[in-house]
């Protein structure tokens, strides 16, 4: 049982052209409960990818702290990038094994859950985009991370494929719960996936409001429930309309 406390007090860029400093994130505080699925919702270009790179340890030039409580450890991160970022010269299985030390039986199970058992020896260039996305999701789960980051992983998939992969993701997550931070600008997708929504303002990025999604998990595939919840959101929190 652990919590994750994220605090980014300041993240700024220096614009090399005119030497001005631009603040991207200011006083951002997000706490993640055990196995909580949180969606970050905000307009494109609000610095979400910057935040994810900080959380993944790829960007260390910021003021703040990211700690697991109560152990005060840096979280081990699994990152599902916007592009799958698979090594094209390694097979599906090798790609997953290189990133994780998952036991073969776990790996086989994950491949089966994502419907990729037949493709485990294929090279990524022979896969469709939807399949590559699924491989990159498996890779992230296989590392058994403290925190799963997902950066709009279903963007540029056609709607049926996106729906299918989203369902596979939720099924997998239900079997192997982890803390998830999922970035999206699609409110319907966020409502369908999340335990909690965090709405982000832009330039500098900060939290506007947080909403717990009250729809039971079993009703999440019902369009009508999602739509009702969405309409109610706009009534209860008029400040979020400008974000979407």
């Amino acid at each position: 049982m652990s919590k994750l406390a994220i605090q980014v007090i300041d993240k700024s860029y220096i614009n090399p052209a005119d030497k001005t400093t631009k603040q991207v994130i200011k006083d951002l505080e997000i706490n993640l409960g055990n196995n909580e699925f949180v969606c970050l919702v905000g307009p494109s270009g609000c610095g979400k990818t910057t935040l994810l790179n900080i959380l993944a340890g790829l960007d260390t030039r910021f003021t703040g702290s990211i700690e697991l409580d109560p152990q005060h450890l840096k979280p081990k991160v699994g990152y599902v990038f916007q592009n799958p970022r698979l090594l094209p010269w390694r097979t599906v299985q090798e790609n997953i094994e290189l990133a994780s030390h998952a036991k073969p039986e776990i790996l086989a199970l994950l491949l089966e859950n994502m419907g990729l058992t037949a493709e485990k020896d294929s090279f990524p260039e022979h896969l469709s985009l939807g399949m590559s996305r699924r491989v990159s999701i498996i890779r992230a789960f296989a590392t058994d991370p403290d925190l799963l980051l997902m950066d709009e992983p279903f963007v540029s998939l056609d709607p049926p494929t996106a729906r299918q992969v989203r369902q596979l993701l939720i099924d997998l997550w239900s079997k192997r719960p982890h803390k998830v931070l999922y970035v999206t600008h699609d409110l319907r997708e966020a409502i369908a996936l999340a335990d909690r929504l965090i709405f982000l303002d832009t330039r500098p990025m900060s939290v506007i409001t947080e909403v717990t999604v009250t729809i039971p998990r079993k009703d999440r595939n019902k369009e009508i429930k999602i739509e009702q919840f969405r309409q109610q959101l706009f009534i209860d929190y008029p400040e979020i309309t400008k974000l979407l």
């Binding site: 340890g57 290189l98 990133a99 890779r139």
Partner: protein
């Protein structure tokens, strides 16, 4: 497809045509400075049976192999380093430009003058001639590395050696192959000059000897042997390596 359009048949036809033209020209001119292919083949067989050609060819190949290996290993290491670290690259860029533009002959002469007419000087001269090309090629390859994949490796905590082997090396492979091919072509020409100027064995030494005797048939016999060997390396070693490394491509 008609038999005549098969690549193997075409290749055979074209080499036959080449030999026929050579034969016709040599017969027509009838001069010792252009022997017919038959004469050359006879000399070649003679030189092989006396053990002369294998000995000198072996020496040259040995020098080729040593200097090529050193140049490639060192060149890859330095190239990756310069490609990954901008300040180093800026600092050493001038050195590279200087070494790239020193004529091969100058390096060879200086090496012999400074280090004596010995094996080490000979190999050093070849390495210095080849090294800058390898560095530049590998540096270009390293600059073109995919940042997204490097980020992925860092995020999933790949070790340094894992990153090098699974992320960086496969991306550098085409550049290494390019450096290998151009390197082989460059090095064997330089090795001959090095041998001609300061060694008492090897192809270069022999060619120099035949030149003084105006023995064109022997010169051509050695050339044929050498070209065949280099082609053999290409077909039997480089091509299979390429195929192996490219199998993931669509």
């Amino acid at each position: 497809m008609p038999l005549i359009y098969r690549p193997a048949v075409l290749a055979l036809l074209s080499i036959s045509l080449f030999l026929a033209l050579w034969y016709a020209l040599a017969s027509y001119l009838n001069t010792p400075t252009l022997p017919t292919p038959l004469v050359v083949v006879n000399v070649l067989l003679d030189e092989i049976s006396t053990g002369q050609l294998p000995h000198h060819l072996g020496k040259t190949l040995y020098r080729l192999f040593i200097s090529f290996s050193i140049a490639m290993l060192l060149g890859c290491a330095i190239g990756i380093l310069l490609g990954r670290h901008k300040p180093l690259d800026y600092f050493f860029d001038n050195w590279l430009v200087i070494f790239l533009n020193i004529p091969a002959l100058v390096t060879i002469i200086l090496c012999y003058v400074w280090f004596g007419l010995n094996e080490v000087a000979a190999i050093l001269a070849v390495v210095i001639n080849k090294l800058p090309n390898v560095i530049v090629t590998i540096r270009e390859g390293t600059r073109a590395l995919d940042v997204e994949l490097l980020d992925m490796a860092q995020c999933y905590r790949f070790s340094k050696s894992k990153t090098l082997r699974h992320v960086i090396w496969p991306q550098l492979h085409p550049f290494v192959m390019a450096a290998t091919r151009s390197g082989l072509a460059l090095i064997w020409k330089i090795v001959l000059v090095v041998e001609m100027l300061g060694r008492s064995d090897g192809m270069g030494y022999q060619l120099h000897l035949f030149f003084q005797l105006f023995d064109v048939a022997s010169i051509l016999a050695y050339t044929v042997a050498f070209v065949t060997l280099i082609q053999g390396i290409e077909l039997l070693i480089l091509k299979p390596l390429d195929k192996q490394a490219q199998r993931w491509r669509r």
